[in-house]
Amino acid sequence: MKYSLVLLALFSAASLSAAPQPMVVTAAEPVPTIVQAEALAPVTQEVAVPANSTINVSCPNCPQAEVVRAPEAAPQVAPVAPEPQEDVLEQNSNILISVVGQGVAPMNTSSPAQAYALAKRAAVADAYRLVAEKIKGVRVDGQDLIKNMMVKRSTVRTSVQAMVRNANIVETTFKEGLCEVEMEIKISHSQFQ
């Protein structure tokens, strides 16, 4: 009886070890390429491998493994996004320019209301500057001083000079000491004639 139980246990262990176990290998960049290898027992293994990689299957006890490779996918061409066209001021047309200026209140304000008023004024000035930069452009000067192959001093100076009129404040927000002013200005062709 004991021998029969031991034999039964050995037989079940042997049958379990012979049972096919699916194995999945995941590569860094999974590409759906299916590799089928023939073993003693018909075993199907699904292996995800990166494209353009070589697969070596070694199986000393089985006949020559057959490697089926998926046809190489055509090189994917990323869709080229159309470049955003800059608005051009044409005759009989208007352009609406919108900017958001930011400003902060000074440290030594006597009341929150004063802080708000001063921060708003600074934000309006910033918005005017942004409008001027968009419409008229910025002058940029740069200078680097290099001595003994080392940058001693790097300077970038920008300046804007313009006259802005008829700009409208659309929205004003004041949050945590920072004031933001949204400003719009409508530009028409006739203003530049």
Binding site: L118, R121, Y128, R153, S154, R157, S159, Q161, M163
Partner: protein, 138 residues
């Protein structure tokens, strides 16, 4: 004793002088020179200045784009404007300001200065009982 003709000439010259002088006084009284300037350094406001003074000479130009400020029979423009400061400054922004902006980045340290200026402009001011009409001359 003066003759009647002499008195007539004297009174005539006085009246002519007054006639010439009064209109000019009245006209110059209702014209003001106003300028406005403020500076923003590193996003913080400094040196906001609003200058108002009566014109000593007659200004040339036509009035446009008027602003009406409410008053209570007050003839002092400085008081009227300071009472409605925000409204008047918004109006000046609409008229147009010169923007002068400079920023510099030296060794990756950034500083900026923006100066907004309304250059000295002559305004025609009409005082009425309950309101004041302010309009720039161009």
């Amino acid at each position: 004793m003066r003759s009647r003709d002499g008195n007539k000439n004297f009174s005539f010259s006085i009246s002519v002088g007054l006639l010439l002088l009064l209109p000019s006084l009245v006209l110059s009284a209702s014209e003001y020179l106003i300028s406005y300037r403020y500076l923003v350094k590193d996003a913080t406001l400094y040196n906001e200045t609003l200058s108002i003074s009566k014109a000593m000479q007659k200004c040339q130009g036509n009035a446009y784009n008027p602003l009406i400020l409410e008053t209570r029979d007050d003839k002092n423009l400085k008081k009227i404007i300071s009472a409605q400061n925000e409204k008047f400054i918004d109006y000046m922004h609409k008229l147009g300001l010169n923007v002068e902006h400079k920023e510099s980045t030296i060794n990756f340290q950034y500083t900026s200065i923006t100066i907004l200026t309304l250059k000295t402009t002559c305004f025609k001011v009409d005082f009425n009982d309950n309101f004041v009409k302010i309009s720039p001359l161009k």
